[in-house]
Symmetry: C2
């Protein structure tokens, strides 16, 4: 049985959980606090990051959300998420990288730093300028999602793909931390409501980070 | 004919150039300054980053170094770089991500910021504390490379792979900027000398960034 070392508000853990669930891969969860990783965890992943997926009986350890997703894409036929021809797959991977790297650096990481790490670890006051900037950049990303879903059925094309799950994973963490304002982003909002209502999303929306309650609308699939 | 929009000291452009050359894919180069990207470039890649690979005649645009490398892995049989079974491929992708993300964040990005961007764009003095920290973290990464090449023939296993090129691309930029001290890292140094002596590496070592001369040993494949 697979065990996923994860963290509730890690967008890369969330992306991996969504992909595994969509593909029907069963796994247990083990929570890791990234600021308090043990030597044992560090031995599994010298980068000291979640997600790490482990099968202790088979002595297998898979590290890095994209490496994990590509692994199951190659070994599980069910529900392809990096699908289509080579060009379509390149477009899916471009968008996954856009959300994993740019959205994370622009929006999710500053929100996690200001609203979670400063509260739980550093015991410091959030920087309101940094929060305003993250929310401004979130608007630019949501505008791009408006454009994508206005021109295509799903983010990367005619079919739902890993790009949708990578984007929704980032947005769900930003939304938990109060960083998403849907005003003026009807298309993106409609797409996100569809993502939220998938069975794979439900366990994520139920999960709480102690000391940081999500806003009321967060887990409501209708809002 | 492919045209690669790149930047001389961008490690992701370098990784892509190495992979394309190893696979025998011909391309022209077009230099983009990341701090001065045009609207036209932004339309090709909303993330406003190099590398971008374009075939104007075929109206194809590929964005993101890993998406480009995966594309040619799927479409060109020559010189597989993400090779082996699914587990070996997961190990290659884990290490690519380790160098693309961790080494870049720990070492290459701070060196580029302090030694290139501050000199050419911000006209500011480098922060010696940030430089010391980047070089300290470089030592930790080189130690891990020592361990990898002491236990395997190449970084990810018995065969040369994209992991070697991703790592060498990052190191080559850090080395250009004077951030690599090989003392105490004989294994890693031996591996890097082999990487440097490959024909695919030669054009990178010849290239100069105006205003920032590399140290004398940089392009010498024997040192």
């Amino acid at each position: 049985m697979w065990k996923l070392h994860h963290f509730a508000l890690c967008p890369f853990s969330r992306k991996t959980r969504l992909a595994l669930s969509e593909k029907g891969v069963a796994y247990d969860l083990e929570r890791v606090y990234p600021w308090d990783a043990t030597d044992e965890f560090y031995r599994k992943n010298p980068a000291a990051r979640v997600p790490v997926l482990e099968d202790e009986a088979k002595r297998l350890v898979l590290v890095d959300s994209q490496a994990i997703c590509e692994y199951f894409e190659e070994t599980e036929d069910r529900t392809p998420l990096i699908l289509g021809n080579a060009l379509q797959r390149a477009e899916i991977r471009r968008l996954v990288a856009l959300f994993d790297e740019n959205f994370f650096a622009d929006v999710t990481h500053p929100l996690l730093h200001e609203k979670m790490k400063k509260r739980l670890v550093l015991r410091a006051t959030p920087d309101s300028g940094a929060l305003r900037n993250a929310m401004k950049l979130a608007h630019e990303h949501l505008e791009y999602i408006d454009w994508l879903v206005g021109n295509r059925r799903w983010l990367a094309g005619a079919q739902m793909s890993l790009a949708d799950f990578a984007a929704a994973a980032q947005i769900s963490v930003a939304d938990y931390l109060g960083g998403i304002d849907w005003a003026g982003h009807e298309e993106a909002h409609g797409w996100y409501r569809v993502m939220k209502s998938r069975p794979s999303f439900r366990p994520l929306l139920q999960e709480k980070m102690e000391g940081i309650p999500p806003p009321r609308h967060y887990a409501d699939v209708n809002s």
